[in-house]
Symmetry: C2
Subunit: 309 residues, 2 copies
């Protein structure tokens, strides 16, 4: 075995918040049940960002109330600020994720705050979570490039990661928010973070496949020691207005790569593919994941053969 890989599944949150339609709570719960049954140990299930901004996830409390009982599975919810933390704490969820951008312009456009203001707010969230013994992952968005500013200096990401760690974040998730990163850049960034004192086991890569680089970037990060990767089943959350266009790294693509490289993911790829097929039906359209599409095609061919025999 080439080591263990931990896949952190984001489709119920990061996937569905980028879908134009609002998916029913029933379908969300059914998706999460399929994800858990496939063997994932980490699932980001919803968000406590105000429903005014993300109506798709307005049923956060209900989704959490209906989560399957699953030993050893961590369910995560996105929390934007202290108000969101209060809502999250009320639901009893044990793991939260915070987010902010490394680049000033993206942070301003995304949350209407400076990087400094965001960091101050998140310190309160992280401290508050610690008081409730809640585990925290902190996303750093635009870690590999900003669509407004272009290159994001490595030191900005490192400084931010250290500040979030000092505040108590257990895990830092490097977000390639618009898929601008490339392999050697990502390896350099990981090297700088490790050199600054953050164990590589506390780093995660949240990659986007916008320009076709999600899988190669995951591979490059794995080659320098990262073992946690975010994926979205079937690539849910790809730009919904451009058919086939990609957003989140597809879980099945990552699973296939790491399985073929001899890693142990603990996840059943077939069951993950079934979850993707289910979501393609729920959303009623072709989803962007490569392996997802390959698998659907292979299943259709098998069905045709079986019907003909």
């Amino acid at each position: 075995m080439a080591g263990n890989i931990r896949l952190y599944e984001v489709s119920p949150r990061d996937g569905l918040q980028n879908e134009p339609e609002i998916v029913s709570t029933d379908a969300k719960v059914a998706l999460i049940e399929r994800i858990v049954a496939a063997g994932f140990t980490d699932v980001e299930v919803t968000s406590f960002v105000s429903p005014r901004f993300i109506p798709q996830l307005a049923d956060a409390a209900e989704v959490i109330a209906r989560l399957p009982k699953a030993e050893g599975v961590r369910f995560w919810a996105l929390v934007p600020n202290p108000v969101g933390l209060d809502r999250a704490v009320e639901t009893g969820i044990r793991n939260i994720a915070t987010f902010m951008s490394a680049s000033e312009t993206h942070n301003q456009k995304n949350v209407n705050r400076t990087v400094k203001e965001s960091l101050a707010g998140l310190k309160k969230v992280i401290g508050g979570a610690a008081a409730h013994d809640i585990r925290v992952r902190s996303y750093i968005s635009t870690a590999l490039g900003c669509p407004y500013e272009g290159d994001v200096p490595v030191f900005k990401v490192v400084d931010l990661a250290l500040a979030l760690r000092e505040a108590g974040a257990n895990e830092i998730a490097l977000g390639d928010t618009t898929g601008m990163g490339e392999p050697s850049q990502l390896q350099d960034l990981i090297g700088a973070l490790v050199a600054a004192g953050i164990p590589v086991s506390d780093l995660a890569c949240h990659l986007h496949d916008t320009r076709g680089t999600a899988v190669v970037n995951a591979y490059a990060a794995w080659k320098v020691g990262v073992t946690t990767f975010d994926g979205s089943i079937a690539g849910i959350g790809g730009c919904p207005y451009a058919p086939g266009a990609a957003g989140n790294a597809s879980t099945e693509d990552l699973l296939h790569l790491f399985e073929r490289e001899g890693c142990d993911t603990g996840i059943d790829l077939e069951a993950a593919c079934e979850a993707g097929a289910f979501m393609s039906e729920v959303l009623g359209r072709t989803l962007p994941g490569r392996y997802h599409q390959y698998w659907l095609g292979a299943r259709a061919r098998r069905a045709k053969l079986a019907a003909g025999s």
Copy 2:
């Protein structure tokens, strides 16, 4: 600079032969003109496989007659057998490509011959080409796995590559025909071929993105010295019956990767993307290339902004 990369463009042949409709000769010539204008030095323009099997490329001689004058550009045509070579020689083309599979079952299903029979036939083709001072590339299909047999032993690929080289093939193109390969497997195969005496500069990778691995496999091959990669503009030749599904590695994805890694490709990525946009219009549907889709989306947003200002 991280070195030179040579992209070998296959869309006019391998792309269009997998399209359901027949593209006009005018459109093919227009595509090739755009490819040449973008800076590609190698373009596989057509095939001399019988039009009974590939009606899409029945206009091979006419396409070759209408090729743009382009200093330093090699135009290639696929040649299946001595009859095809005669047809190719008549057109005056200076570079041909042969093909056969490393796995018995795939070769049988593809060309209705044993591997041994195919190799004997190709030796005649390669020898005949040499007599006309025609350069030869030889594809080895299913080099990283066979959809019927599964794993293809490395020694079979090495033996075949050595036999084709002995016959006079200038370049060996390793075909991952159905996208079954993974990075360390490909690196091992390249290592075995180099150990057997084939210079890495005479190897090319012809990768498919069926399962989302084309870019990561190209990266892995580049890390062990390969510098020639086949691509198809916009991923033309993806499975046309499954919207968005992938076949050939997308040229723009490879160009973007290697540019971002600091390599010199000699190709203008924007011009390559324009060629992809042109072909999306010609074929009248969404093509699978990731970067292609990203670029179309970015162009549409720019146009919208310009219209609003």
